[in-house]
């Protein structure tokens, strides 16, 4: 069933606010417009990639004028950075708040993965925006993508037990795991099917646990996801 966000039309484009006197407070409009621009940035970048996204496309996707956009952000880069910051903050908060009741670290990781996938399934463009588009843009955006991914994996594995084996070896394993996680999520949103993201849960859990508890145990714990 097609999910439709509030305030969007059938194509998922954000509706324009009514013009003129609409009885909405100035603060509401301001917050609303900034959020629209963030949503517009996610949609535009997910569709066109960073390089081929223009300020005009972001404004169009947000349903605001370019002039309005320039009231908030001077450049495309500012739109993108603000979007990354907001997304990262919200996601990390959501992850930090999940798994509180779960007993044991593995169960916490399973709960966090489920929170992550719910978060992303609500708008799979977030995966395209944050994990698919950055490597194709290169430079600073790619760097931002790497730091986002590292922060996300840190939060997913927070409170982990001491890893087995030598510290340098584990560090390398953890780093590779980030690349694997990005690939699994990116692969899931390439398929136009809402269920695909949720299906990645066991694989993500296994990837997150393996460097700390070994592959065999990780596979067993992942089966519960």
């Amino acid at each position: 069933m097609a999910r439709r966000e509030r305030g969007t039309d059938e194509d998922g484009k954000l509706r324009r606010l009514p013009r003129g006197r609409h009885g909405l407070s100035r603060e509401f409009v301001t917050r609303n417009q900034r959020e629209r621009l963030i949503a517009g940035t996610i949609a535009a970048v997910a569709e066109h990639g960073y390089r081929d996204t223009s300020v005009t496309q972001i404004a169009a996707a947000a349903g605001v004028s370019r002039r309005t956009l320039y009231g908030y952000f001077k450049t495309k880069e500012e739109c993108v950075n603000a979007t990354y910051d907001l997304f990262e903050r919200h996601l990390l908060e959501a992850l930090a708040g999940s798994g509180g009741k779960a007993r044991g670290w593995s169960a916490k990781v399973r709960a966090r993965v489920s929170t992550l996938l719910d978060f992303l399934a609500a708008n799979p463009d977030l995966v395209r925006f944050s994990l698919v588009a950055p490597p194709n843009a290169g430079g600073e955006i790619a760097e931002r993508g790497r730091s986002f991914l590292a922060a996300m994996v840190d939060q997913l594995t927070a409170g982990h037990p001491a890893a087995r084996g030598d510290a340098d070896g584990v560090a390398v394993e953890l780093e590779a795991m980030q690349g694997s996680i990005a690939a699994v999520l990116a692969g899931a949103v390439q398929v136009k099917d809402d269920e695909t993201l949720a299906d990645t849960a066991p694989q993500l859990v296994e990837l997150l646990l393996a460097p700390f508890v070994g592959r065999r145990r990780a596979t067993g714990e992942a089966a519960k996801a």
């Binding site: 390089r51 490597p135 194709n136 843009a137 290169g138 430079g139 790619a142 760097e143 790497r146 340098d168 070896g169 390398v172 394993e173 780093e175 590779a176 795991m177 980030q178 690349g179 694997s180 996680i181 990005a182 690939a183 699994v184 692969g187 066991p202 694989q203 296994e206 990837l207 592959r215 596979t219």
Partner: protein, 217 residues
């Protein structure tokens, strides 16, 4: 006397001209590799490629359709060299595990020796337009397909279907994050860790370690 050995035979002259023009092309591609790596695909212009590649404008457009075509040629040259190195390094008749371990060692060492070429195929290829991205994805997929052969080793019954794609991306990630910072400083420490990671799911920890040790020697 075979004609090829005859002095000043027409054939010999044709062959040597062809060899010379291929050599020249190789040299131009080698220099253009550095241009793409240092400037980045997006920022590099045909003017940069002409100046850095030491080739005339006419010569450039005789060889290449434009920037993207030149990039793909650079990519293919680097990969051809990689294939040659792999062929030379992997012993005849080596089994899957040996090929995997020697292959990883060879690729990491080559990427460490030639950081600019490695940058082009591992990082810039992702930013280089549809053709280049297609090449990059195909390379990654080939690695995943090769790793999947390891399932025949017997340990791997519970792996998810896209396990190898995730592994290939993870291994690539290790090289990419180092190349993005500059270069790979620790090939001798890095490749055994990568090889253990790649082999362990199929061979178990003990056999993976044994293979890594035998290739380290």
């Amino acid at each position: 006397m075979p004609p090829a050995l005859a002095r000043d035979s027409v054939e010999k002259r044709q062959v040597s001209q062809k060899v010379r023009s291929e050599e020249r092309r190789e040299q131009v591609l080698g220099r253009m590799t550095d241009v793409f790596a240092k400037r980045g695909y997006q920022a590099a212009t045909v003017d940069h490629l002409i100046a850095g590649g030491k080739i005339s404008m006419g010569g450039f457009y005789k060889e290449f359709d434009g920037k993207e075509d030149a990039f793909v040629a650079v990519y293919d040259r680097v990969m051809a060299e990689t294939d040659e190195r792999l062929e030379g390094a992997i012993p005849v008749g080596a089994d899957w595990a040996m090929r995997a371990a020697v292959g990883l060692r060879t690729v990491v060492e080559l990427a460490s020796e030639q950081p600019l070429a490695a940058r082009v195929v591992m990082l810039e290829a992702q930013t280089g337009g549809k053709l280049a991205l297609g090449r990059y994805s195909a390379t990654l997929q080939a690695v995943a397909t090769f790793l999947r052969e390891g399932r025949a080793e017997g340990e791997a019954s519970t792996l998810p279907p896209s396990f190898e794609e995730a592994t290939a991306s993870g291994l690539a990630w290790l090289l990419q994050s180092r190349l993005a910072q500059g270069r790979i400083d620790d090939p001798a420490e890095l490749w055994p860790r990568m090889a253990r990671m790649a082999l362990e799911p199929y061979l178990g920890a003990a056999r993976a370690e044994q293979m890594v040790r035998s290739v380290s020697g």
